[in-house]
């Protein structure tokens, strides 16, 4: 069937802010879907309030609404735009849930909006556990024994009949949120309680545990004609028990026989056909390791994190094809964009392996509950492609940017074997590395298999890596034979690691290697294992065979990406890299992009002229640059990951466009930075660089409390801490590992502001100023911010501009940089200069109509600021925009939600309106949809410590009941049903109550300013309602 002709305008629902369980993968799928729709001449209307995304650019959608993803807001948009169709399967669970609500409220029917692709009935059948189970029973597809419960008693009854352990899965939640495995009655009670409260319909599935089975996923597509294909299957190295988002995963499966592979494939096809899905679908199975018996775990009737991974692993663009299928196309009518000659109705054949490893935030929060289970905790992931299994794992390890030495995690070498054996069983984020460490210490792979149930094949791959390492340890640069070195490279050992174990410099290893002609080759991801000629410019390195690519001779520039999504380095840098690639291409350059994050738009091979999927280390990047013959690299857009490479790349003779290593060092090295500010007569916060504990105490005495401790060259304020007294300092130094030198500054109590600046070295342009609503001491990524500033005086604004100018001109800076200011008593201090794009660059670009990254790229290529027409393009900021952070602390038990200089939030939203209060309402509403509803319901607020009377009164006037320990205990309050807010302004990061409150989906307000902003927003909402009623 050809495309439906009557669809002219389509509403696409995005996934909103990035949270754990729903991250950049939906920017990728959303962007692909928007592109696919536009290709068909369809007008795309998008609702998504996440400003850091590519999909919310007018490049990809025609009309964009940064509105909260609520039924009311969506209805307003539908009313205004009158779309013919709705695409709901590319915005993750958020998008799907909103579409279901729109349907249930009769809004789709009322306005004649057709749901494209999979219909509502099918979605319900897949999502509703009861309907799903009865369908599977009808099809004869086995599901683990389970029962749907709405009470703790029912759960206990089930567990007592089937036996422990059991798995608790709350209905309709993201990333398995609120669930877990219970091996005792006590654990079950607490999990079910948590699960029922997490589920929007207060429903949990209690399931017989099949922990230890192999966990296998299939990515399936189906068209209206009934043609089904499986794009790819994936095997979790971690058996069932660890959420697939938290598992090490390989694609395709490695240890399934053809019979097993085909029987699961057949089951997938049966299920997707029975559900009548049109588009993409993810199906998860548990496969018995010995007897091929399987159970169905879950079906996601939409594109997912796994489908993004499968797309990148195979080259098959699932989301794009799914969007076309939703419009009525059939698979055999669509060309496979990779080969350009074959059709979309085929199954990719891989001739390499893809290894995915999750990236967790626990390097930042070592004291959090790191245990892995059915609730996802990773914030991001990396992928590596290789034709050698060991090398694929080593590449993935390098891509994680952890403190590793080769394939070992440094911190584990200090632990004894018993501790390691405990760790490998209980499984936390270090599990893979614990396995490697145990193998290194000679623990047999049989024993590890017994403890972990990891399939022996994988353990023998790891064992081989360790044996190879032992062999390499015994030789040295002088003794090593060519064949050994060749083998070492084939198995993925980096020059840096070899230089460490051989006690030589990295360059000596490199020289030896080059002398022997041992260099990598680059293979193409072609979806067909070389069976057909392909045109994709999507490559990965390997250490054997010939290269598929012959580099072109056009002028080229490489862009270094930002790697896995972490707290503090999120999708905003992916946005920047994508726009830089677009700008390079438009300026007549070949844009060569290097990155390793499978979730993102930047690793869509259509974005750049060539994509290299590689770890972001000097060696891996250097190989690509040498192979392509590139001398110019852009590091400004890949966050701290890329900027940290400046020194090595420059030393190797590359020219770093815009931010030379010396500038980076001058801004990051506190000593040099203070000299720089002093020379320019710019006020700075007094501070020192301390080399020891003794010096810290000495300088703290000189500065007086409070003080701010911080390391250099870090992401998202990692390791930053405000200390208010000497006793706090001593306790901190005694309990935390502090890496010296550490910077110690006076903690200045005031407000903060920041700017993103474009400069060509002689002139500069400031598109706008962000004012932070919370005072100093809150990381800029975690604060509510507003632009244009609402309370800064003209004098302060002038100072901000004048200091920015001094900095830009003095550094002869080219490109984009970010300056953070502290303001106290009308005096402006410069606290930080980031010689790179910042988190706010996408927001400022979107609200001022000046694409900062594209302009910056032009500046890096040598265009003058004057030639860019910035003043003309700038829209003068007709509206007010508020940015609000979004936290995932609810998924990270043990992490303190108290705002501090170390960034905590995983995502952000914006709200834009003619009035500040209107923008504030939109931002706060949009940022807190997962939490207790403050906008429609009235509830109770528990205040710990002091809340002034005026505020207390104001909350009461808003209809909320303000309680303190005088009314009831905190524990009793937690048991109440209508709790909505926990307030504690004490700045106590150790507050257990704050940590507990945040897990109960209540708002935790730890700053007076945040609390006032909420009050303000609620009052505005109430006022607006009254006006409507009158």
């Amino acid at each position: 069937m050809p495309k439906q002709q009557d669809i002219k305008k389509v509403l696409v629902i995005g996934s909103g802010p990035i949270v754990i369980g729903q991250a950049a993968e939906f920017d990728y799928s959303g962007t692909q879907a928007c592109k696919a729709l536009k290709e068909e001449g369809i007008e795309v209307v998008l609702i998504n309030n996440n400003p850091a995304t590519i999909m919310t650019d007018n490049t990809f959608a025609d009309v964009i609404y940064f509105e909260p993803l609520t039924v009311e807001d969506a209805e307003q948009i539908i009313l205004k735009e009158k779309p013919d169709g709705l695409l709901a399967t590319v915005g993750g669970q958020t998008g799907l849930n909103l579409a279901m609500e729109l349907h249930e409220n009769g809004i789709l029917a009322k306005y004649g909006v057709r749901l494209l692709g999979t219909d509502i009935d099918s979605i319900q059948k897949a999502e509703d556990r009861e309907l799903f189970r009865s369908l599977m029973k009808h099809l004869g597809e086995p599901v683990p024994e389970s029962e749907i419960v709405t009470s703790i008693d029912e759960a206990i009854h089930f567990a007592e009949v089937t036996g422990y352990p059991v798995i608790v899965r709350p209905a309709y939640t993201l990333g398995g949120f609120g669930g877990g495995i219970a091996s005792s009655k006590e654990k079950l009670i607490s999990l079910v309680k948590q699960g029922l409260s997490a589920s929007p319909i207060n429903q949990c599935l209690i399931e017989k545990s099949i922990a230890g089975y192999k966990e296998i996923e299939y990515e399936v597509m189906r068209d209206k004609n009934g043609t089904c294909i499986t794009v790819c299957n994936m095997e979790n190295v971690d058996p069932v028990g660890v959420h697939t988002g938290d598992s090490v995963v390989v694609a395709p499966s490695q240890t399934l026989t053809d019979d097993e592979y085909q029987s699961l494939r057949k089951a997938s096809l049966t299920i997707i056909s029975a559900l009548d899905i049109v588009g993409g679908c993810n199906i998860q199975f548990a496969l018995h390791p010995d007897n091929s018996q399987y159970y169905l775990i879950e079906v996601n009737p939409r594109v997912s994190r796994s489908s993004a991974l499968a797309s990148k692993a195979t080259g098959y663009p699932i989301a794009k094809i799914a969007a076309k299928l939703a419009l009525g196309y059939n698979l055999h009518e669509l060309k496979n964009p990779v080969t350009g000659t074959t059709f979309a109705s085929f199954e990719p054949a891989l001739d390499y392996v893809a290894v995915k490893m999750p990236r967790w935030p626990f390097d930042k929060f070592p004291h959090a509950d790191r245990k892995l289970g059915t609730q996802m905790k990773a914030t991001g992931e990396v992928m590596a492609l290789e034709r050698n299994m060991a090398s694929a794992f080593q590449k993935a390890i390098r891509s994680l940017e952890l403190k590793t030495n080769g394939m070992y995690l440094k911190e584990l070498s200090a632990l004894d074997e018993d501790t390691l054996l405990d760790l490998v069983v209980s499984a936390d984020d270090r599990r893979f590395f614990v396995v490697m460490e145990l193998l290194r210490r000679g623990v047999s792979s049989d024993k590890i298999h017994e403890l972990t149930k990891i399939t022996p094949y994988f353990l023998s791959v790891f064992q081989e890596m360790v044996s190879m390492d032992n062999m390499l340890q015994k030789t040295g640069l002088e003794k090593v034979e060519k064949q050994q070195l060749q083998l070492a490279k084939k198995y993925g050992f980096s020059d840096r690691y070899l230089s460490n174990i051989w006690s030589v410099s990295e360059i000596e290893v490199r020289n030896k290697r080059v002398e022997w002609g041992i260099t990598p080759t680059y293979k193409m991801v072609d979806t067909c294992a070389a069976e057909f000629e392909a045109k994709t410019t999507y490559f990965y390195s390997s250490w054997s065979g010939k290269s598929d690519r012959i580099p072109g001779t056009k002028k080229k520039v490489a862009i270094i990406g930002s790697g896995p999504i972490r707290i503090g380095q999120g999708v905003e840098f992916d946005y920047c890299c994508v726009h830089s690639a677009i700008a390079l291409h438009a300026c007549g350059y070949e844009a060569i992009l290097i990155n390793n994050n499978p979730e993102t738009v930047s690793t869509d091979y259509e974005v750049s002229d060539s994509l290299y999927f590689e770890p972001l280390t000097f060696e891996d990047i250097n190989h690509v640059l040498e192979f392509e013959g590139i001398s110019d690299v852009i590091l400004q857009f890949g966050g701290q990951t890329s900027i940290n490479l400046a020194k090595e790349l420059e030393a190797a003779g590359y020219s770093v466009l815009g931010s030379p290593a010396d500038t980076v060092d001058q801004m990051e090295d506190r000593e040099r930075f203070y000299h720089f500010l002093d020379a320019l007569n710019i006020p700075k916060v007094p501070g020192f660089s301390a080399l020891s504990e003794k010096e810290v105490i000495e300088y703290a005495g000189k500065l007086g409390f409070p003080i701010l401790l911080r390391p250099s060259y870090v992401i998202g304020g990692s390791g930053m801490k405000v200390l208010y007294s000497e006793s706090e300092l001593t306790s901190y130094l005694n309990h935390e590992q502090v890496n010296y030198p550490v910077l110690i500054d006076t903690f200045l109590e005031g407000t903060e502001a920041e700017v993103d600046v474009l400069s060509d070295g002689t002139e500069l342009f400031i598109p706008g100023i962000f004012e932070h609503l919370e005072g100093t001491g809150v990381h800029s990524g975690d604060s509510l911010t507003v632009t244009p500033p609402q309370s800064l005086s003209n004098h302060v604004i002038d100072q901000i501009k004048s200091y920015s100018k001094k900095i830009a001109l003095n550094l002869s800076y080219k490109g984009l940089f970010n300056v953070q200011f502290a303001i106290q008593n009308e005096c402006v201090y410069v606290i930080e200069v980031n010689p790179r794009a910042s988190r706010t660059a996408p927001i400022m670009s979107k609200i001022t109509n000046v694409n900062l990254v594209q302009k910056a790229t032009q500046l890096l290529l040598g265009h003058s600021l004057h030639s860019l027409n910035l003043e003309q393009e700038h829209n003068g900021q007709p509206e007010i925009t508020v940015k609000a952070p979004v936290f995932s602390t609810i998924k990270l038990p043990g992490v303190s939600p108290v705002l501090n200089p170390m960034m905590l939030s995983t995502g952000e939203v914006i709200g834009t309106d003619a009035h500040f209060n209107g923008a504030l309402v939109k931002a706060l509403k949009g940022s807190s949809l997962q939490l207790a509803d403050l906008w429609n319901d009235h509830g109770s607020i528990f205040v710990e410590g002091i809340l002034d009377e005026a505020a207390s009164k104001a909350w009461e006037e808003c209809g909320h009941n303000v309680l303190t320990a005088n009314d009831l205990t905190f524990d009793d309050w937690l048991k109440t049903d209508n709790k909505v807010i926990y307030i504690n302004f004490s700045n106590d990061s150790e507050s257990q109550n704050a940590k507990r409150a945040v897990l109960e989906r209540v708002h935790v307000l730890t700053r007076k300013e945040t609390s006032n902003a909420y009050l303000n927003a609620i009052r505005t909402t109430n006022k607006m309602r009254k006006e409507v009623l009158n």
Partner: protein, 350 residues
């Protein structure tokens, strides 16, 4: 131990022997499926062929003799990128042990991707696997003739005679699973012998090589096919087309894999199929044969199946029995057996 594979166009690729046997010759072909090496290696259609696996990790799940498609390893040689030589759980032996048990030459650490690109460009060439010290000078290919005696399997009521051109065990099993008893007969079994068996239907099996080498039997095969409900698979499909007056040609490098999309022209549905063939039936040659096209390859438009307008004769180029590969065509056996059960036995000569 270093080893080489040299193609008849003179190109040589290096590797390391994992087998005791260090010499082999045959036609070089490649297989793109990511699982199923046990079935590929034992499929008689691969007789005389050196198989290059495009998937670089072979042997990961060991080798279960129960998965064999025939009594032995059939390929003339194996070329791999990486090989996992350990046994796996559940009595799965090491692939290396199996290859050695049947004296099959096998190389690993070969740049299989470049080798496949060669085959893609130059076609399936004769090739020799050898030790580096010799330079092969002759690249002749042997012709393989299936050699079997009459065998019986299954006990169902419907009786199918499987004409054996080098059949896969899975075809016989698929028929038995549909409730048939199956008699396997040599490809040159005479008409009256077959009549004596009193079959309800015939299946022309898969097999290796050029179907034209059976040309002296085409008249005989047509005679059989118009007397009994007949299903042809792979080589059997080509032979049926030829017997009714059609023509075949050799593809440049064949279809070998688990991801070939075919469209059923009767229903318009597209599905994945398991394939392994070098020759195809020429579309233009079908005009006088009475055949209509049943399935077509979505990628290159080649003929993937036929049905006859006057007789109960149908055939598929792909493998509905799968093994290895996607098993979504089992209904071809079901429908065939169904039609057999609803056809009155033909008693007289046509």
């Amino acid at each position: 131990m270093k080893g080489c594979i040299t193609l008849s166009n003179g190109n040589t690729f290096d590797g390391d022997w994992i087998s005791d046997n260090q010499y082999g010759s045959g036609e070089i072909v490649f297989y793109t499926g990511m699982t199923g090496y046990e079935q590929v290696l034992t499929d008689p259609s691969y007789q005389g062929q050196i198989v290059v696996f495009s998937y670089p990790f072979i042997g990961n799940y060991g080798f279960d003799p129960k998965s064999m498609e025939s009594a032995k390893i059939q390929v003339a040689g194996v070329v791999m990128a990486e090989c996992y030589g350990f046994a796996a759980k559940g009595g799965r032996q090491s692939i290396v042990d199996l290859l050695n048990a049947y004296q099959i030459p096998a190389l690993k650490n070969v740049d299989t991707r470049s080798l496949i690109q060669q085959i893609r460009m130059k076609g399936s060439l004769p090739a020799v696997m050898h030790v580096p010290s010799i330079t092969p000078d002759s690249f002749s290919l042997e012709e393989y003739w299936p050699a079997t005696s009459i065998k019986k399997t299954g006990s169902g009521e419907t009786h199918i005679v499987l004409i054996d051109f080098g059949y896969k065990k899975s075809i016989a099993e698929a028929l038995v699973n549909e409730g048939c008893s199956v008699t396997i007969v040599p490809f040159d079994q005479e008409l009256n012998d077959i009549e004596k068996l009193n079959p309800d239907g015939l299946v022309f099996s898969n097999g290796s090589g050029d179907p034209m080498r059976f040309s002296t039997y085409f008249h005989h095969y047509k005679n059989l096919a118009i007397r009994y409900p007949t299903l042809g698979i792979c080589l059997g499909h080509q032979i049926l087309a030829l017997s009714f007056g059609g023509e075949t040609r050799k593809l440049k490098f064949g279809h070998r894999g688990a991801n070939q999309p075919v469209m059923n022209l009767k229903t318009g549905k597209v599905s994945m199929s398991s394939q392994n063939h070098s020759y195809v039936v020429q579309k233009e040659s079908l005009a006088e044969t009475g055949f209509n096209i049943w399935f077509e390859n979505v990628n290159d438009g080649s003929v993937e199946g036929l049905w006859h307008r006057s007789f109960n004769v149908a055939s598929v180029q792909f493998h509905p029995e799968a093994a290895p590969g996607p098993n979504e065509h089992k209904e071809i056996f079901q429908n065939f057996i169904n039609s057999v059960q609803h056809t009155e036995k033909v008693r007289s000569y046509a």
